[in-house]
Amino acid sequence: MKTSYLFPYRFKKASGFLFWITLLLLCSYVMFDSYGNFEIKTKVFAVVADTGLLGGSEWFNWVENSIVDEILFILLIASGLVYAFSKEKTEDEMVSKIRLDSLVWATYFNYIIILLCYMFLYGFAFLNVMMVALFSHLLFFIIRFRWMMYKQNKLSYDEE
């Protein structure tokens, strides 16, 4: 199978490692650092930024911001994309099928979860959901795909 949109297999392990580590770091950062003990303040370019609590905003300006979460997010999304879409050791048509199935499943599952959260969560809880929703699709896909591949491998060792 010639699939040009997948990353080489050699990226798989490293990106997977980075993805899970970053996910762990991001979760602990969001959960335990609500007082801003760990911050890297710097000037960043903002297309839109709030000026105050009362809804004012400024456009195309330099603002002061802690970039820890930005760095973690970039790492998470980049490593997650590479991990999710790098080739398997033996990339063949069945792997493509499993990948496609998992992608469809993850899309449905993700939006069902988001809709449920939308309907039943309000206030700050919902803000957290919005943040998770930025990478949940990728996460659900990775979990589902890895699980199906694992099941496939296990099945095959029972035989013969």
Partner: protein, 66 residues
Amino acid sequence: MKNNIKIQRAIANLTQAELSEKVGVSRQTINAMELGKYVPSTVLALKIAKVFGKTVNEIFELEETD
């Protein structure tokens, strides 16, 4: 779709791994096909038939439900 890959493999004295190498897929794919859990593409079916020196029709067969 039914197939008799397992029988053909026994006749040709090939393991799943050897067959998978010859047609360029993983062993898991051969296994899934033998268990009827995966329907191969036309290209793969033709490749498998070629390995056994048979036609595709001799190895793969339509079922009532197809």
